[in-house]
């Protein structure tokens, strides 16, 4: 996996916090892998490995966008809406013709940008809670898709795009490669660039960042736009994976991407967490979901396990390494920084 890029802190205590942040998801991952070895031996075949890798790629790309938004204290519930929109735009415009692929992709990106701008506008200019703003735009996207396609999207995804969802580079599914590259870029950008500094300081303390001359509105807006663009990319991968227009809004990806980030240890209050943690969370979630399918567990069991893992992950992060440290009591006493 990608090496943890550039931690913002290197002091001894910070290093301890950094390690403890990774311990929980890493333990979880080991646990899943051991359980898988015991219960479903075929989990360790190339085919299943590829499945996990594909899942990592798809969930991961959405989770990267989600992480950016979470880092500035927001949340994006419209990613899966953007994915569906991408699929519909591309299919409708290109109608399966390779020659129109490029323009189709450009149009899809523009559609994604529009959604990102709406989200950013509501959150930054109108101070709408991100949770509500992005949900509202999700509803709007759904309406737009149905009104525009009259309910039955037609057209096809050009074959030329097929390598994005179905291709492999040295046996590694392309989505995973794309995700790895993006994660590396995002990790470096967050850890080593001024843009990253702006994101973290905005997320940790918007007012202090603003008064230091950082244009926090633009920082936040950029994160929403990037998140929507990640949605476009995930949408392209998803539609090229199957080659048919699939307007079904894969609602689960919103929750999966949030879950992955949270399991990895990205704080919902903003400003805390690194891309390496998101990567870890994504790997854990993808392995877990694939293992459950291999196990033949029904939808119910999958949901129960996901819920349990999220609660456990956050519980462990709250506690730090010492399981019974009294930290919870003191954190409770501090005034909560609201969800905006």
């Amino acid at each position: 996996m990608t090496a943890a890029p550039a931690a913002p802190t290197r002091a001894p205590s910070a290093r301890l916090a950094r390690i403890s942040g990774v311990v929980a998801p890493l333990t979880g991952l080991v646990l899943v892998l051991v359980l898988a070895a015991v219960t479903t031996p075929q989990f360790y075949s190339l085919e299943v490995a590829r499945l996990v890798m594909f899942q990592i790629g798809l969930i991961g790309i959405a989770a990267l966008g989600q992480t950016l938004v979470l880092l500035v204290g927001g949340i994006d519930l419209s990613i899966s809406g953007v994915m569906a929109l991408t699929s519909v735009v591309l299919a409708t415009y290109s109608a399966g013709s390779d020659s129109r692929l490029l323009v189709g992709v450009v149009l899809a990106v523009l559609a994604g940008l529009a959604v990102g701008l709406v989200n950013a506008g509501l959150v930054v200019l109108r101070n709408v809670p991100p949770f509500v703003a992005t949900f509202a735009s999700f509803v709007l996207i759904q309406g737009v898709i149905i009104a525009w396609t009259r309910g039955a999207p037609s057209g096809n995804i050009p074959d030329a795009l097929g390598w994005l969802g179905g291709g492999r580079i040295w046996e590694i599914p392309v989505p995973l490669v794309v995700f790895a590259v993006l994660a590396l870029v995002a990790g470096i950008a967050l850890g080593r660039t001024t843009a990253g500094r702006r994101v973290y300081s905005t997320g940790l303390n918007r007012e202090a960042a603003r008064m230091s001359g950082i244009r926090t509105g633009i920082v936040i807006a950029s994160c929403y736009i990037l998140s929507s663009l990640a949605g476009v990319l995930a949408g392209l991968i998803n539609s090229s994976f199957i080659g048919f227009v699939d307007a079904a809004l894969v609602r689960s990806l919103d929750l999966d991407s949030i879950a992955a980030a949270v399991i990895g240890g990205i704080a919902l209050t903003g400003g805390k967490g690194r891309i390496s943690q998101t990567v870890l969370g994504v790997v854990l979630l993808a392995a877990l979901l694939t293992w459950l399918i291999q196990l033949g567990a029904g939808g119910g069991a999958q949901l129960v396990v996901s819920g349990g893992v999220i609660l456990l992950a956050v519980f462990l992060q709250n506690r730090g390494l010492g399981l019974l440290s009294p930290r919870a009591r003191t954190t409770r006493a501090t005034p909560r920084k609201g969800k905006q």
Partner: protein, 404 residues
């Protein structure tokens, strides 16, 4: 100190509450009388002596089974037991309540997919042909929403109502509409007897589920590993077909259903599921799927893995035929035609006009296997179309589903 005393009192109270709750549950568990008659998911329990014109009605029902058996080349396909009768034509005959034209309420699925679109467009098209007013409400696939829709439509006092049921949860509301004096025709779906719907017009789920399973059994010679790919967990359309398939496979001791998964009727999900199947069950002999979209994903997964595609079933989506054109994939397809909604409208009109109507109208629609597949492909039409379609060509063109 008082504090601990208080705490003790509180814990005692909690204990008491828990014991009380347990007792209640225990009482609930061993109670005596169940209320009302059982309703076996569409099974007929209507009073036999009242059944009008039973024989003729029964013949039409069995006809829908034998046509599929013939298409799939099945020697044996026993219809699920079902009693079909004629509704008393006098009961519902009526003049239009308002103005000259009849007003028919249509509680539709909503345009959430191409099936839903064609279903309501065919209905509207036919309504225009008949000169009937339509009161429309869409449930967007949600039974809870449809309950509200039906109540609101009923409050507009239409002459009759056609409902595309989204789930059993609407049964109570349908019954309320019927008892309000509105004849309700169920369309493309069934509800328990308790709904008291006047007539049900649908392609039979049992028929599809059973026929696909029988075809697979025949292909495998009654022996092998089968996977079931159902649609959406909890949705009746999927669950009834799945149940019929499971019952059929039960009859063959050497057929093993190795796994049951859900595809959400999405090729994307189906492909992921199929990739998992390839990894987990390399010796799979056949795949029972309730949808063509699910089947597309399966075919792709096998082709990409470089493996032969096992025999597969599903509904006849144009996309599937396009994708398997020129391959040696063996399949058996049938349709659950959306345009049956026009028959639903006809049935409602017949009721109002006092003409004879069956309480269960089972739609017959073409079924075919890979041998005849070629002739049903519609290169000029959208992939989402269910073929062959009996919807009017000009409607298909107008909807942009086919080229003129």
């Amino acid at each position: 100190m008082t504090n601990t005393a208080f705490r003790r009192a509180r814990s005692r109270r909690i204990l008491a509450a828990a014991v009380g709750f347990a007792t209640l549950v225990a009482v609930a568990g061993c109670s005596a009388e169940q209320e009302g008659a059982g309703s076996g998911g569409g099974g007929g329990t209507g009073a036999a002596e009242d059944c009008i014109n039973a024989e003729e009605a029964q013949a039409t029902y069995e006809e829908s089974w034998s046509s599929v058996a013939e298409a799939f080349g099945l020697s044996e396909l026993t219809p699920v037991e079902e009693e079909v009768c004629e509704v008393d034509p006098e009961t519902w005959a009526a003049e239009p309540k308002q103005g000259d034209a009849y007003r028919i309420a249509f509680a539709a699925q909503g345009p959430t997919n191409s099936w839903g679109v064609l279903s309501e467009e065919a209905f509207n098209y036919h309504a225009e042909e008949l000169g009937v007013d339509v009161l429309y409400a869409a449930a967007n696939g949600d039974a809870t929403q449809q309950v509200d829709n039906i109540q609101q439509l009923a409050s507009q006092d239409p002459d009759a109502m056609v409902v595309v049921p989204m789930g059993e949860g609407i049964a109570g509301q349908v019954q309320a509409a019927v008892s309000q004096g509105i004849p309700v025709v169920l369309c493309s779906g069934i509800l328990p007897e308790s709904s008291q719907a006047v007539s049900t017009v649908t392609r039979q789920y049992d028929l599809l589920g059973t026929a696909y399973a029988e075809w697979i059994a025949q292909e495998l010679g009654g022996e092998g590993q089968v996977a079931i790919l159902s649609g959406l967990a909890g949705v009746p359309t999927a669950e009834y077909q799945k149940a019929a398939a499971e019952a059929t496979f039960e009859k063959y001791p050497d057929i093993e259903v190795v796994t049951t998964q859900y595809t959400e009727w999405s090729p994307t999900v189906a492909k992921t599921v199929a990739q998992n199947l390839i990894a987990s069950y390399p010796d799979l002999d056949a795949i029972w799927s309730d949808s063509g979209y699910g089947a597309i994903g399966v075919v792709q997964a096998y082709q990409e893995a470089g493996l032969p595609v096992p025999p597969i079933t599903g509904d006849a989506v144009n996309d599937f035929l396009l994708a398997t054109q020129g391959t040696d994939v063996r399949y058996a397809l049938s349709t659950f035609p959306p345009e049956m909604s026009s028959t639903c409208l006809d049935t409602a009109m017949d009721l109002l006009n006092g003409e004879p109507v069956l309480n269960k109208v089972y739609i017959d629609s073409p079924s075919f296997t890979n041998e005849e597949g070629e002739q049903y492909v519609r290169e000029d039409c959208d992939g989402g179309l269910l073929v062959p379609t009996s919807a009017p060509e000009d409607l298909l063109v107008e909807l942009g589903m086919c080229q003129a």
